[in-house]
Amino acid sequence: MPQSPTIIEKPQRWDQPLDPQLNDDIASRLIQLEPFALMDESAFSKNVPLRGILKNDCRLIEFNKGDIIVREGDYGSSAFLIVEGEALVSLKKIPQSVLGRDPVEPKSFMETIAQLWSNSKHSEARNFETGGAPKDDAIGERVDDGQTRIFLHDIPRVIPAGQSVKLHKGEIFGEISALTRTPRSATVVANTTTYILEIRWQGFRELLKRNDAMRLHIESQYRENSLRSHLREIELLKDLPQDSIDTISALTVFESYGSFEWNQNFQSTKQKDIAARVLSEPVIAQQGEYVDGLILIRNGFARLSRSRGDGQQTIAYLGKGQAFGLRELNHNWQTSQQRPWALSLRAVGYVDILKIPTSAVEQFVLPNVNSALLPPLFPEADMISNRRKVSRAQSLDQNLMEFLVGRRYINGSQAMVIDLDRCTRCDDCVRACASTHDNNPRFVRHGEKHDHWMIANACMHCMDPVCMIGCPTGAIGRSEETGIVSINDGTCVGCSTCANSCPYDNIRMVEINNAKGLPILAADHETPILKATKCDLCADQASGPACQNACPHDALVRIDLSTPDDMISVANR
């Protein structure tokens, strides 16, 4: 019997608005407000009109006085506009405990020893007294319209007068973090009853694209506050004179490729044929085309590939701070040739880049840079198909590289890699993990395999921690010092946002029990209390990651996959 295809409406961009309750009436009122009132509606495309952005990419949120709007260190993909009221930006570093996080201190020697007898006999046992409420008495927790809000009882106690900046109606904040996927640089608290318009990054980018004044304002802020210091951090540019940096900064172009929400369709993308998957990745630079500038990766990852037959072969991957195109630019400058890109650069997930135009590189960078930092010229023969010499990737197996990039394991800064040819499946790693986590293992010795390598289901402490986006209480946070992403059990409300966001299924929601092993239930006596759990890299243990220390066969390692170096070292042992 012939089978007929399933017919559905073609999915549209705004099938799922950010806030289904934001109707035409509210959108009409928002459009009267600055800065939207100053925008030219005709500058927006028919498919993505200004009114549509307000209705679908925005959410109107009411905050009470003292409510925390954003926390320092949080990741997010939204900018915020004050519609009514006033907010305070704290210039003071607010203690982690106030932000809902639990600063992790290594256990003392006696506490370490005591784990021998003090670990619970029951799984996921919690002290009932500290099972839910935030620990710091400066903050309170309430549920408002289904949303958990953390608030400061007494704002001046936490943010003293003179240590904050007031934001008023019509002002935008959080835009740099939203556009660059970097942690929020300050905590913002509602100073009165405040209405905030949250604008998700897709809509915000559209606003910038269609409104020059807004774009120039945001870009100038970024150039002023961040870009110069960012450029100075790059090895190639760090010794340039200040006026050259200023000029380069003014000429640098910002571009973004791919989607911030790459994690949402990651599982389905993974099922695709690898050739189709690579070809569907947004192209940043195309092999064989004109070299128009030096590309610096500001955030995210990019795949370096070259054409092979009808497909693309991965040569290497680039991460934050790495540059692409220097070899071509140097070659063309020194030989007066016009050699095109030798390789293609594609966005894996999402990538933010900075592009320094060719003319600026030739005028300010190449003449002034130490020649030892410049790559060698291309040989004369075999102009375009010449393989790029990427020293980091030289000894990493081609298929392993494809596996790591294709499955986005390159996101992991502390991935658990197991050499199955050495692993005797003794589970000493799992027992060690359990013994340092009150008898609850925080990973599963299972995961995707490539050849004799397994990437186990353990938190990788990602470079792009999408799990941290949307946590209502700030319970999941990243340590500035160590980069470890950990969950504060005390402030986790069990909403599962982080577990649902993790593209690698490395966060588990567990039902907690009391010290006697009986379930802890909500006040309705039926709903079990959930907590998000994951590997914390034994942050509170002086011994470091117990799993790695416990492996007697050198099979299990915790390594940084954001660059190939660690993997090459492990593979070449």
Binding site: T112, S413, T424, T436, T482, S543, P552, D554, D560, V570
Partner: protein
């Protein structure tokens, strides 16, 4: 973020480590032999010296198991480091034993028993060294990675799937159902025999898959699809049994090695006490 993999430094290789530890082991054994020779050349009894070094080494070797249980203790070295010490100290005990018994076969009852215990533990250690290098590769060659404790649950799941396929297929023909009840039901629902556990092979798998394929000419199109699924399940079950046999061997070996170690330690202490008690005026 700093990488925690001090052991993944670029200069580190397993071959380099083997060479280094092997050289140190040979040097230590030669040093001990020199001390024994010196004692004997001065007409002193070297037995207490070799005995104490030997029993000390045995306790140190047993310490690996303790180290594994104290994975959270800092600054005591990784389990991998302890395992390397365990291997090389373990190998050097052959020389210690030979020097202690003065290259003769022990003659007392207790001494023979103690020697047997020692050789069981030492040779099982050598066997363990061999199987921990060889068997992981055989497990890796199997497509599926299976956690040992979950094998019974997987077996039940596969058996239920096989049953469901056959029940569905037997609505139109009983060929597959009869074959299942005659040839497959025990295969799916029971663990494999002891002979398979000792020496796992793919012969049963090949045989059953061959028999299933041979049924094709008696089956309709739908039932052929069912038989192919059944053949797939046979392969999965065989993989499961293979994991059980190999992982089981890795666990049983360790269980035996550690279990007899405790007996060895106890008897060695008894032997030491008796040696002191009956040493008399021996210098």
């Amino acid at each position: 973020m700093n990488s925690n993999t001090s052991k993944t430094e670029k200069s580190f290789t397993f071959a380099g480590r083997r060479k280094k530890y092997a050289l140190i082991t040979v040097a230590v054994v030669l040093l001990m032999a020199a001390v024994v020779w010196l004692l004997q050349s001065r007409l002193l009894n070297s037995s207490f010296f070799t005995g104490y070094v030997f029993i000390g080494s045995l306790f140190f070797l047993a310490g690996l198991n303790l180290r594994k249980r104290l994975s959270f203790l800092p600054k005591i070295g990784s389990a991998s480091f302890w395992m390397q010490l365990h291997i090389y100290v373990g190998l050097s005990t052959f020389a210690m034993f030979a020097m202690h018994v003065k290259w003769r076969i022990p003659d007392g009852g207790l001494e023979i028993f103690l020697s047997c215990l020692y050789f069981f533990v030492a040779l099982s250690g050598v066997y363990g060294l061999y199987v921990t290098k060889i068997l992981p590769k055989r497990l890796t060659a199997v497509n599926e990675e299976i956690i040992f404790e979950r094998i019974p649950a997987f077996r039940q799941k596969l058996a239920a799937q096989a049953r469901a396929i056959v029940l569905e297929a037997c609505e139109t023909s009983e060929v597959l159902a009869k074959f299942y009840s005659n040839r497959l039901i025990y295969f799916f629902e029971r663990p494999r025999s002891l002979a398979y556990m000792v020496s796992p092979s793919g012969s049963k798998r090949r045989q059953l898959v061959g028999e299933i394929e041979a049924l094709d000419r008696f089956l309709g199109e739908d039932q052929r699809a069912a038989s192919r699924k059944l053949a797939g399940l046979v392969r999965q079950k065989d993989d499961l049994d293979f994991h059980r046999a190999i992982q089981g061997r890795l666990k049983i070996w360790l269980f035996a090695h550690i279990g007899v170690t405790y007996s060895l330690l106890i008897v060695a202490v008894v032997h030491g006490v008796m040696a002191h008690a009956f040493s008399g005026a021996t210098p």
